[in-house]
Symmetry: C2
């Protein structure tokens, strides 16, 4: 009999369908469901029964249009299969879920264009925050692009969070959650030096990657502190992957480079290095010691188990979400001045079995 939408339930039940069938007003249904208004027990029962019968769920789009809606956080990641990033994502996701927030994940594939497109997409979605994960390339343009993102998101009522990247310069409305990258590298290199190693092959990562720069710098500082001259000829740059670790060591051996330890920029690089040493007939750690960075599960699954630097990835994710949640719920008034927050979490060396004092060789 009803005029609109021939009674068959094509598509999805609306709040009106529920109201009609329960014989109450639309407003009443809304109130029962959101529960932010007193409602009689009788009404609640009537409505809830129909809701169950129709398997009704509210339309999130309509709800957020009308002002309500669940806050959403977007995680932008270079490569979802990277173990370290996955842990940050897990931290963000679990903290978000805890508060009833929703989380989106997008992958950029290291492509600035895609990054831009995704940030805009997230702006359209009206996300509460955009979390950018992973080390960044230190090109001139980077600071400008990020600053633009930050302002653009801020203007739209959202917020930019940088995780595992250096903070932005100037007065930019962005939060940074970082770890003591350089300090970890310093401690790791010190560990090798104090074990007696002096000739160390260093594989910090891409020269332009901010994390690689920090790790190299920390290592240099350790050498200085120990009064050991740092030989730039012992540094090999390259991507953070297994192949680079393998090839760098293979090449170093072919060139007859003399080293008793490998300081890898990443656990995965360390794994590749380890494999290359084995292929050359060298034992780890008897002939050559190896250390990594990140402390992903792989580190403890290698043989021997890898001594490495623990980075609290999951906690960084949780901290990042907490930061944006606080900012959104806490301070209604003051906005300026408290922007540009920078949180730094600690790192520490995890000693396992891949380091020994230098032996017969070298």
């Amino acid at each position: 009999m009803s005029q609109r939408k021939a009674s068959g339930d094509a598509g999805r039940a609306t709040i009106r369908d529920v109201a009609e069938r329960a014989g109450v007003s639309v407003a009443s249904v809304s109130r029962v469901l959101s529960g932010n208004y007193p409602v009689s027990e009788d009404l609640r029962r009537k409505v809830m029964k129909v809701v169950r019968d129709l398997d009704y769920v509210t339309n999130a789009h309509a709800r957020s249009l009308a002002g309500g809606g669940t806050p959403t956080v977007a995680i932008l990641i270079n490569n979802i299969t990277g173990a370290a990033f996955a842990h940050v994502a897990k931290g963000v996701e679990s903290a978000a879920t805890l508060r009833g927030w929703l989380s989106l994940v997008g992958t950029t594939g290291d492509d600035p264009e895609r990054e831009l497109a995704l940030v805009n997409l997230m702006r359209q979605q009206g996300v509460a925050a955009v979390v950018l994960l992973g080390g960044a390339y230190d090109y001139d343009e980077y600071q400008l692009r990020m600053a633009r993102f930050a302002r653009s998101l801020d203007a739209a009522g959202s917020h930019l969070v940088l995780v595992g990247r250096p903070p932005l310069e100037g007065d930019v409305p962005a939060t940074t959650v970082d770890y003591d990258n350089e300090g970890g590298a310093y401690a790791m290199a010190s560990h090798l030096l104090s074990a007696g190693h002096r000739k160390v092959l260093v594989l910090p990562g891409h020269a332009e990657l901010t994390t690689a720069q920090g790790r190299l710098k920390g290592a240099r500082r350790a050498f200085e502190a120990y009064g050991v001259p740092f030989d730039p000829g012992m540094v090999r740059h390259g991507p953070y992957d297994y192949e680079h670790g393998y090839e760098a060591v293979e090449e170093a051996l072919e060139q007859g480079l003399d080293f008793t330890a490998v300081l890898a920029g990443t656990d995965v690089v360390a794994a590749g290095a380890m494999q290359a040493l084995r292929a050359a007939g060298l034992r780890v750690p008897e002939d050559v010691s190896i250390v990594g960075y990140d402390d992903i599960p792989l580190a403890s699954q290698l043989t021997p188990q890898l001594t490495t630097v623990h980075v609290p990835y999951e906690e960084m994710g949780r901290v990042a979400l907490r930061a944006v949640a606080d900012r959104r719920e806490g301070n209604g008034g003051r906005r300026k001045g408290s922007d540009g927050e920078h949180l730094v979490l600690g790192t520490h060396v995890v000693v396992r079995n891949s380091v020994q004092p230098p032996g017969r060789r070298g």
Copy 2:
């Protein structure tokens, strides 16, 4: 001067702001932006200038309320840090991006309640499809719960996709993308048997997990085919993690179990098993051979590199998305009958260095 919203741009620019400032109607702005309607070059210029000035982006919620909007696919995953799942997610995500779709990720943590909550959340979001990842526990309730999800999503115009799980029984509106799990296990076990192994420690996984069941079944079939009696006493069930692999082997050795090879249900389990063997002074593969399953990057990063079964995770993700995209774009009319699609992708053994014919020991 304007009455509404004191002209300062608090919050976010709307299409009305753009229209007003460009001196045109709201409809014109919408048309310029969506570009599905002829518009004069003059108008386009005027509008686009204001859009850039205001850094305007359309409100995705409003857009999808009004009928348009980007299709979204939701990926529900047990644990985002699992390497295998991450690859499926990558496949889904990349295929989604390719078509301009958006993708959401939610983690269930193996909790049926959370799974239910997430499916409902996704229903609210009006997602085009929900992709459920990973092996399922074969409890009686499982089939019913999934069937309910499937119908519920279907009624809301969405669609359920099961990836890496067995298909649902009966006429349920769900798509399944699966791999030849049992076949892979059969081939893997055959590989060991043809190398001469007869006493094999089997670590298939949790007894109730569907993937573990399939892998165990495949192994048994291989033993039968080779005319080798299968000893149930050589099977150890447990979770798919490193610790289980380690402890199961450790225990087996303590019990004096006699075996020349380990058939692990997962590469990670194999890694644990390998470590336990080493700890007991046994060499791999000289004393004991090991094989895994999944072919995640870890497999080729272990020493020795692991012989394992390749599962096309990323492709499964792509196939899953393609299936829902086709269904949504392709057939407008027919819906019934073509439901319950079941796609199976092949697996194959990847031979590396962790298997040798049984040697002196045993």
